[in-house]
């Protein structure tokens, strides 16, 4: 089995430069991007070697700050403490750390740093010459806003952390670095505000992340699936965002963020059920406008889950509940459809999901054409061909469009919608109500990192609901959400103690 980086933790560097280079060469024997350059210092006594991976470093920085000073510097370095002398008197690099083991050296090389080995020294220098390209700051596609900050995270964790720091100019912001993934050794940051976050929660989270045993971490979802409570629940118990302003806001509420290198998606926790209905924009718009949007999202969640199910139940079991004219209209428009209401409904739900998925993966220019062909042409043709009925198409379309209002619950909505249709077609409204009751009980029984998932709606008072069904003006949001006992509740520091 190929050795992992951590396997070299106990392999120490020697004072023999050739031997150290040999070890590195042996490790990277099949990697043609590794570059090793030997340099004779001006004193003609000491020799050194710089090791880096091509493409991951900034050549300009390396040449100007490392190679040139090493070749030209006329500094006499003694026999002892050579590395310190070079670091402090010759190099122009802002960040130079010592590496004593081969593992330290490997981590630095693989992260875009340059290693400087000096003959007669058993300590190497890891020099900050990172120069890999990043995508740059752009607005996240999934979290667009009409008003408010438009910057989004990048794939580089360090830059993401910097963006976060720019929002929170306080030394209270902690960023603990971990490496996760046996082979990928992905850099993970646990960020929190020390005075606000629950220490116990941070400790537990750290322990959980350290326990993760996986080959590689390529996205935050890898970590989310390992650490989140109720792993097999459809409901999210960890939040995700690509926006630094959202992470900053959540940290200010006493939450914890997990930044993973290689992905712009940042995890935040604990996560409450009501957050599924919140939009980033809610806090940047007038509270009246934001509250309308918030309320609509709750209504849309109900419609998304229940519109087809209630329609199936009413037209199959409870026809007496339909107004007579509507019942006649449904009967007339359904005439000739060969499928039962259940099959008709499931068929439409799956077609809608296919159209939605295709629209997501398509180039934007083709997306419009697809929505016209899929939604209008196919829909109308299906109704005219009597494969489906118009009222059912309307019910499923209403449900589908409503579901788009709450993207954070899309998985739950789909499964719940299908389950509700199945139960309603078997047991009518009784089945639907039973399913909804089970769902409500389940939602109320979930906890996210020790916090009740429904903490914000358990107590129906203004204090709890001020940021749930509506968004109260900032003036009235004097306390932070109820998460844990450790946080300072009052946003207004005067109210502390």
């Amino acid at each position: 089995m190929a050795p992992l980086t951590k396997d070299y933790s106990s392999v120490y560097l020697t004072e023999n430069l050739d031997e150290n280079i040999k070890i590195i060469k042996e490790i990277f024997k099949k990697d043609s991007t590794l570059r090793i350059r030997r340099i004779k210092l001006k004193d003609n006594v000491n020799e050194c070697a710089i090791i880096y991976i091509d493409g991951m470093i900034n050549n300009e920085v390396l040449n100007d700050s490392v190679v040139r000073p090493l070749i030209t510097a006329a500094v006499d370095i003694g026999e002892k403490g050579k590395i310190e002398e070079i670091s402090s008197k010759i190099l122009f690099v802002n960040d130079a750390n010592k590496a004593k083991t081969v593992a330290d050296m490997l981590r630095a090389i693989l992260y875009g740093d340059t290693i400087l080995l000096v003959s007669g020294s058993s300590v190497a220098l890891s020099l900050n010459t990172k120069g890999w390209r990043t995508r740059g700051i752009s607005e996240p596609q999934e979290e667009r806003v009409l008003q408010g900050p438009r910057e989004g995270f990048d794939e580089a964790a360090m830059f993401n952390l910097a963006m976060l720091r720019r929002k929170l100019l306080t030394p209270d912001l902690c960023a603990e670095m971990l490496r996760v993934g046996r082979r990928s050794e992905t850099i993970v940051f646990i960020c929190y505000l020390e005075s606000l976050a629950d220490k116990q929660c941070v400790k537990e989270l750290k322990k959980k992340i350290e326990k993760i045993d996986i080959d590689g971490i390529l996205d935050t979802n890898y970590i989310a699936e390992y650490i989140r409570p109720h792993r097999f629940s459809l409901l999210k118990t960890t939040g995700t965002t690509e926006r630094p302003d959202v992470v900053a806001a959540r940290l200010l509420e006493g939450r914890i963020a997990v930044i993973v290198d290689g992905t712009p998606v940042v995890l935040t926790l604990p996560y409450l059920f009501s957050e599924n209905f919140q939009s980033d924009e809610d806090y940047y718009l007038n509270f009246f406008v934001a509250s309308v949007g918030r309320f609509l999202r709750f209504v849309c969640f109900f419609l998304a889950v229940s519109a087809p199910a209630i329609f199936v139940a009413l037209t199959t079991f409870h026809k007496q509940l339909l107004p007579t004219s509507f019942a006649l209209s449904v009967a007339q428009l359904r005439g000739g459809v060969p499928f039962s209401a259940l099959i008709e409904c499931l068929l439409l739900i799956f077609v809608f999901e296919i159209l939605k998925e295709t629209g997501l993966r398509m180039p934007q220019s083709l997306g419009h054409a697809l929505s016209i062909v899929g939604g209008l042409v196919v829909g109308q043709a299906a109704v005219e061909a009597r494969i489906v009925s118009a009222p059912m198409l309307i019910a499923v379309a209403l449900s589908g469009i409503s579901g788009l209002m709450i993207p954070r619950l899309k998985g739950v909505v789909f499964y719940l919608r299908v389950a509700a249709v199945l139960v309603s077609s078997l047991l009518g409204l009784y089945g639907f109500i039973a399913l909804m009751s089970i769902f409500v009980v389940r939602v109320f029984s979930i906890k996210s990192f020790g916090v009740d998932y429904t903490a914000s709606i358990r107590n129906p008072d203004f204090e709890h609901l001020k940021d749930t069904f509506f968004r109260a003006p900032w003036e009235y949001m004097k306390t932070r959400p109820v998460f844990n006992k450790n946080i300072i509740r009052a946003r207004d520091e005067k109210d502390e103690d």
Partner: protein
């Protein structure tokens, strides 16, 4: 842990069984409305000693290129209303849907027992809507075979005609199925049904029929129906004959003197002064003649005495009918 899981599975199983029972799936055909005959009206009449059920239904024509609905008239016969409906349903290719049955018609040919049976049948047939209107007609078959004037079916059109008549004349028939059932349960067992008459190719409300103890007791014209409603305190506001009444309320009092029942009706109505005396005269005439003429408590006085004057009720209870028939009815018409 294992026991907990078994408990959970068992409780889920129990919930499912309970839901199946609650959903009432057993014994009924649950299909979409387009695969059923949607009954809009069902009438019962007596033909040569047997009950004949005549139903007006709507059926979707699935074979047609255009999605169209057709109105059909269905008939069946049997010894009881249930049998006649069964006979009617047996001839059909699709099941009947009674959930949207808007009108239940009774015929003049039905006797007291048969009217009772029809109402019992409608109560037992859980699918018949409790809000359906009960209507009287002398010729159900003809009425239902006419072309509807402003709706898809005669049944649904009749509902509109009744509602319109009620709001125009100010009368209240209280002829919905649950209202009739409520009146049947009262002491007087009296209810009023609108009477429909088919004239040529049209139909209209010709008046009303007063039923007492399931027996058809009196036929009233539209004007008499309005007066009846004023006396029984079921009048709201409207116009009839030359009278225009903005609002009306009837206060009831009863007493007994020398073995004679005295009924005092004090009607407070908002009416033009000029027509008050004439209205009072008509009210007195209607109250006394109808009460005396028909061998029944058609104004449901017994119920009002029972509810408002227990002392009097106890005295008349043994000979209730006789007392009410010979009662002295005095009416006072006051301005509000």
């Amino acid at each position: 842990m294992k026991r907990m899981r078994i408990k959970k599975i068992l409780s889920l199983f129990l919930v499912l069984i309970l839901l199946f029972c609650l959903s009432g799936c057993s014994g009924n055909v649950y299909t979409q409305a387009d695969q059923q005959y949607i009954v809009s009206a069902i009438g019962f009449l007596n033909k040569s000693g047997r009950i004949r059920a005549v139903a007006e239904a709507v059926a979707v024509n699935a074979e047609s290129t255009e999605q169209s609905v057709e109105r059909v008239l269905l008939e069946g016969e049997g010894a009881t209303p249930a049998e006649s409906v069964l006979d009617l349903a047996a001839k059909l290719s699709k099941p009947l849907l009674f959930d949207h049955c808007g009108v239940i018609l009774t015929d003049a040919t039905l006797n007291r027992e048969e009217v009772e049976k029809v109402l019992s049948y409608c109560e037992e047939n859980k699918q018949i809507n409790l809000a359906a209107y009960i209507v009287h007609s002398d010729d159900i078959e003809k009425l239902l075979s006419l072309k509807p004037m402003a709706a898809l079916t005669v049944g649904y059109d009749i509902i509109g005609v009744i509602d319109r008549a009620q709001s125009l004349y100010g009368i209240k028939f209280f002829n919905r199925f649950y209202e009739v059932k409520a009146n049947v349960l009262k002491k007087s067992n009296t209810f009023l049904l609108p009477s429909f008459e088919a004239v040529g190719e049209e139909y209209t409300i010709s008046g009303s029929e007063v039923y007492s103890s399931f027996e058809r007791k009196a036929r009233l014209t539209n004007e008499q129906t309005a007066l009846y409603c004023l006396i029984t305190d079921t009048y709201s506001h409207g116009a009839f004959s030359e009278y225009k009444i903005a609002s009306a309320k009837c206060f009831f009092d009863s007493s007994i003197k020398d073995e004679k029942l005295y009924i005092d009706l004090r009607i407070k109505a908002q009416i033009e002064k000029g027509s008050r005396e004439k209205l009072l005269e008509e009210l007195e005439q209607t109250a006394n003649t109808l009460n005396l003429f028909f061998d029944s408590d058609i104004f449901a006085f017994s119920n009002r005495i029972y509810r408002k004057n227990q002392k009097v009720w106890k005295k008349i209870v043994s000979k209730e009918k006789e007392f009410i028939k010979n009662a002295h009815i005095s009416i006072a018409l006051e301005d509000i």
